[in-house]
Symmetry: C2
Subunit: 118 residues, 2 copies
C-alpha cells in the first residue's frame, strides 16, 4: 500500500509501445505507456480500454474517424472496436484495462509484448 508517483514511474522505462503496470484495482490494471509513431490496427474482443493522456498528444484512429486527445483528456474504446493509437511526438499515457489485456489485441505480431510491472 505504497504511494505511486506517476512521473517517477515513467522515469523507470524508455521503451515505447511497451505498457508498464503500476496498479491493480479489482480486475483491472492501471498501466503507463510511452508512445510515438503509429501502432497497428487491432481490437480487444472482451476488454474495454481507457486511454488518458498525461503529457503530449495522441490520435485514436477508428475505421470511421479520428479522435485527438491532449493532456487530461481520455476516451474508452469499447471491446470489439478496431483502433490504432498514433502520436507525432513522444506522448505519455495512462491506460485502464482488464488484467491480461494484450497490447495488440487479437493479433500476435512483433509488437506484441507482455505488460510488466514497473
Amino acid at each position: 500500500m505504497e504511494k505511486i508517483n506517476i512521473q517517477e514511474k515513467f522515469a523507470l522505462f524508455t521503451e515505447r509501445w511497451s505498457p508498464r503496470i503500476i496498479a491493480r484495482v479489482g480486475d483491472v490494471h492501471v498501466k503507463l505507456g510511452r508512445i510515438q509513431g503509429a501502432f497497428e490496427w487491432h481490437s480487444h474482443e472482451d476488454e474495454d480500454e481507457m486511454f488518458l493522456v498525461i503529457e503530449g498528444r495522441m490520435t485514436l484512429r477508428f475505421r470511421d474517424r479520428d479522435v485527438e486527445l491532449g493532456p487530461g483528456e481520455c476516451l474508452v474504446v469499447p471491446r470489439g472496436v478496431e483502433h490504432m493509437p498514433v502520436a507525432d511526438e513522444e506522448t505519455k499515457i495512462m491506460m485502464i484495462e482488464p488484467a491480461g489485456t494484450v497490447n495488440t489485441g487479437g493479433n500476435v505480431s512483433e509488437r506484441t509484448v507482455e505488460a510488466r510491472w514497473v
Copy 2:
C-alpha cells in the same frame, strides 16, 4: 465513444464528497471527486479503491499511518482496509473502483451518496 475532458467534467459540479462517474471500463467506474475537510472512517469489504490526485493535496489516513498525495500521485486502498480521506484545501481527485462501490463503504451515514454520471 466520446472524448472526455477531465477539467470540463469538474466544471459541471461543485459538491464535495459526491463522486461523479465519467467512464466505465469493464467492471470498474472511473470517478471524479472534489474533496475538502475530513471524510469519515470506512472500508469497502469487497472493493479496491484507487485515489489519484489531479489538483491539490490529500492525506489518506490509515489506522497506523498517514500517506500524503500530491498531483500525479496515487495509491490503491485494498478491500477491507479502513481509511479516511482528508484535504486541507479543495482538492480534485480521480477514483478507480468497481462499479457499485459506495462512498462510505460499509457505513450508511448522512454522507452516503449514490455516484451519478456527469
